[in-house]
């Protein structure tokens, strides 16, 4: 069923009886060409592009809980392509371009809002680094602008410029960055994939792989064995658990990242703002809540919840730049499990087991990558060659010394 304003009016006048399920709940079949493990944003996007762009059929997405229940529904909804390194920037720029046409592509309003993202600059060294980054963005075809403090204050008049511990000395803006209604991304891809014949199977947890002579031929699940020509893992924070069942150890640690939302407020923040010196970033949702976050808690965790010190640290950062926030209230906090990789960059690759593919290591940046990750993974699955923007995301790059380390902190996942 096509969604449109006309359809909304028609349904409203006829009691909304015509709306069907946004996607079917499929029961598992004995065999598929492709089984994608993980009904999050990336898994659903992979299925969608595999069916639509690469004309594949016989695809299932299996999800242990409910689709969209992982990080795609737990993030701070930011999209951007302000990366520094050549291994990353083309990929994230490709992703941003896919975001720009996503709603029309999916016929689903995911509220892609290019409100702009701004990284504040506090020192000369930081400015040098941001100029290098901004130039790298432009050289890769993305947009970037260096803003003066005055330009920033014009947009954020309540910014603390006069009494700050770390004075604001400008900022690097990407105007095409912004926010997206995160849950709607999962639902939109699910609906799109469903319309292209993909089976979405909820409450179906993988319990093992069938691997014979180095070839993966299917997965054992809580709903029985499902055979597949190609099995594609796409489970973010659970990557080590799932791939562990195939005997693999990964260059990944799982860490908890907390996120926060305030009570609803009338429009305050026009765009996304990032205060690196204080571990704080914030935007305002269409509903009016300030959505914000900071650093990961810093210890391995699968608990989907964090602790108070980081909550305080994040709010300190917020108050440092926006001293009017003191009288806004934090409404809700939650945690997501991040697949923190050893260089802070993701992996989209085949494994040493034929027919078994891996997508993971997104750290806390997976949401913005959703469309490109799905597209590139679908490309890899369909053609067995990496997508041109994802050629660096290889599993063997650590052994070979080809790390893509944006932050320059090395093999220490909790620092990325």
């Amino acid at each position: 069923m096509r969604y449109s304003g006309f359809r909304v009016i028609k349904e409203a006048l006829t009691g909304h009886r015509g709306w069907g399920p946004a996607w079917r709940d499929a029961a598992p079949k004995p065999h598929y060409d492709y089984v994608i493990i993980g009904g999050g944003g990336h898994g659903l996007a992979t299925a969608y592009y595999l069916a639509k762009e690469f004309r594949q059929s016989s695809i299932a997405v299996i999800e242990k809980g409910w689709i969209g229940g992982g990080n795609v529904g737990r993030n701070t909804t930011i999209i951007r392509s302000n990366y520094l390194l050549d291994g990353n920037e083309p990929f994230y720029e490709f992703s941003l371009q896919l975001w720009e046409g996503l709603e029309q592509e999916l016929n689903y309003n995911a509220m892609v809002s290019q409100r702009g993202i701004l990284n504040l600059i506090h020192s000369d060294g930081q400015r040098d680094a941001f100029i290098r980054r901004g130039n790298a963005m432009i050289l890769n075809g993305a947009d970037a602008e260096l803003l003066t403090t005055e330009q920033i204050v014009a947009r954020y008049p309540f910014l603390n410029v006069n009494n700050a511990r770390f004075p604001i000395k400008g900022g690097l803006a990407q105007h095409r960055g912004g926010t997206v209604r995160h849950d709607a991304v999962a639902w939109g891809y699910a609906r799109g994939a469903d319309q292209h014949g993909v089976d979405i199977i909820q409450n179906c947890e993988v319990t093992g792989f069938q691997i014979k002579d180095g070839v993966c031929t299917g997965v054992e699940t809580t709903r029985g064995f499902i055979g597949a020509k190609k099995v594609a893992s796409c489970v973010a924070g659970s990557s080590s658990r799932v791939m562990g069942m195939a005997g693999m150890r990964l260059p990944i640690e799982s860490h908890v990242l907390q996120a926060f939302v305030s009570e609803g407020l009338k429009p305050l923040l026009p765009g996304v703002i990032t205060f690196g010196a204080g571990h704080f970033y914030c935007s305002q949702s269409d509903k009016g809540g300030l959505v914000f976050g900071g650093d990961i808690d810093g210890y391995n965790s699968y608990a989907q919840r964090g602790n108070l010190p980081v909550v305080e640290d994040v709010c300190e950062g917020g108050m440092a730049i926006f001293p009017n926030l003191g009288r806004a209230r934090l409404l809700r906090m939650w945690g997501g499990v991040m697949d923190m990789s050893m260089d802070g960059s993701p992996i989209i690759d085949r494994t040493h087991i034929d027919g078994l593919y891996f997508n993971g290591g997104w750290c806390y940046g997976g949401f913005k990558a959703t469309p490109a990750s799905g597209f590139a993974y679908a490309h890899l699955l369909a053609t067995d060659t990496p997508h041109k923007t994802a050629t660096a995301y290889r599993l063997d790059r650590f052994a070979k010394g080809g790390m893509i380390d944006e932050k320059g902190v090395g093999n220490q996942p909790n620092l990325h």
């Binding site: 150890r249 990964l250 965790s301 010190p309």
Partner: protein, 95 residues
């Protein structure tokens, strides 16, 4: 979180800095035949268990001991805390 330091007793985890899996104690022998591969595995591959995890914490705002903490990554419950140096010796890192 509270870490029960073997020398100093219970201390808030905020006093500590986290490093990662305690397997980082087992630095490979650089003279071994497959040293390159072993260093790669040592440097980059992790068990990353959902459950008991032995991990390194540094008491930076304290006595500067490195500790090996055994903690459940699904509940955060801590069941054992040892001095990393004792662990290193027990694992044969003495000369």
């Amino acid at each position: 979180m509270i870490i029960n330091h073997p020398i100093l007793g219970p201390r808030d985890a905020a006093e500590f800095v986290y490093k990662g899996d305690a397997s980082l104690i087992n630095r490979p022998d650089p003279q071994s035949d497959n040293a390159a591969e072993r260093f790669y595995e040592y440097g980059y591959l992790r068990d990353n268990p959902a459950g008991l995890h032995r991990e390194l914490w540094f008491h930076e705002q304290g006595d500067r001991s490195w500790l090996v903490v055994t903690r459940d990554t699904t509940t955060h419950e801590i069941t054992k805390v040892e001095l990393a140096r004792d662990v290193a010796r027990a694992e044969g890192r003495s000369r």
